[in-house]
């Protein structure tokens, strides 16, 4: 099966049916390994055991941006190549991305209270991630508000690409402004500054959450393809009745 074959929704469904059980099993196994490593990771000399929140917070924060990046590529697919699967991919990713962003915000808040003494601060990093969350909700509302998927696709794609401007703002907010949030400690020039005892569980959890996203995204794309098939068949049924 070549890459171009995947552009066919029916072939995509066939591949998804084959892949999903393996992906789900790999995700579950890697999550268990990651959770075990997180549980046995040593306490930080300053933060104590609260450093364990990092193993949940950071993968969700990374994925909140990564998912919008995937949606931005899909938006290009919608606007440039007008491919129906591109909009399916973007629409299916939005609720998953919103969930990861919600978890990044809430776990960050729960980590911030004992470390910073506050649940929330209107600093650049926190505020830009909150804006990302609101943009996810706005996009989901847009898709729900417009009944015809092809009409909603173009508006959603433009909004997604406009929203992508927020991604570098989130990433570099800790460098550009004086924020309460710590600067990057993994994806930075000079390599990660985290000790291996924390870095390895963090990377395992990040990989596990990335696999979780891939699994959920493929399953949600399958559902969206079926939803559009139902709609097309209902329209055929309605036109047959009126004829």
């Amino acid at each position: 099966m070549t890459l171009i074959d995947l552009a066919n929704p029916t072939r995509f469904l066939t591949l998804t049916a084959r892949l999903l059980p393996w992906l789900a099993a790999s995700t579950a196994a890697l999550l268990l390994v990651g959770l075990y490593q997180s549980a046995v990771a040593p306490d930080d000399y300053q933060q104590g055991a609260t450093v364990k929140i990092m193993f949940i917070h950071v993968p969700n924060a990374w994925l909140s941006m990564f998912v919008w990046g995937v949606m931005s590529l899909a938006a290009l697919g919608t606007l440039v190549w007008r491919h129906p699967l591109a909009d399916v991919a973007a629409k299916a990713a939005a609720p998953i991305g919103a969930s990861f962003t919600f978890l990044a915000l809430v776990t960050g808040s729960l980590w911030g209270r004992p470390m910073w003494g506050t649940y929330w601060e209107w600093d650049a990093r926190l505020t830009s991630v909150l804006i990302l969350f609101l943009m996810y909700l706005g996009l989901i509302a847009l898709w729900r508000a417009v009944e015809d998927p092809s009409r909603a696709a173009r508006a959603a794609a433009i909004l997604t690409l406009v929203g992508a401007i927020n991604l570098p703002i989130i990433k570099f907010s800790v460098d550009w402004w004086n924020t309460l949030h710590q600067p990057a400690s993994v994806m930075r020039i000079g390599g990660p500054s985290l000790d291996r005892a924390f870095l390895i569980p963090l990377l395992v959890m990040a990989l596990a959450f990335s696999l979780l996203f891939l699994t959920l995204h493929l399953a949600a794309m399958r559902n969206e393809i079926l939803r559009r098939r139902v709609r097309a068949l209902q329209m055929m049924q309605a036109s047959q009745r009126s004829a």
Partner: protein, 59 residues
Amino acid sequence: MSLGPYASFILTSYALATVVVLILIAWIAIDYRRQKERLRELDASGIVRRSGRSAMDIR
């Protein structure tokens, strides 16, 4: 394993992540069943796809 004085913050974070992921999985699974059910109803009413294949042929 002692989680120290902030155990409730740590446990709440993990519990919340578990709940949100389970809700996502349940939502996707329920949606899949709902779409298959609709396709089954359309198939039963005699509607076929433009390709001539059954509505229930989802592969």
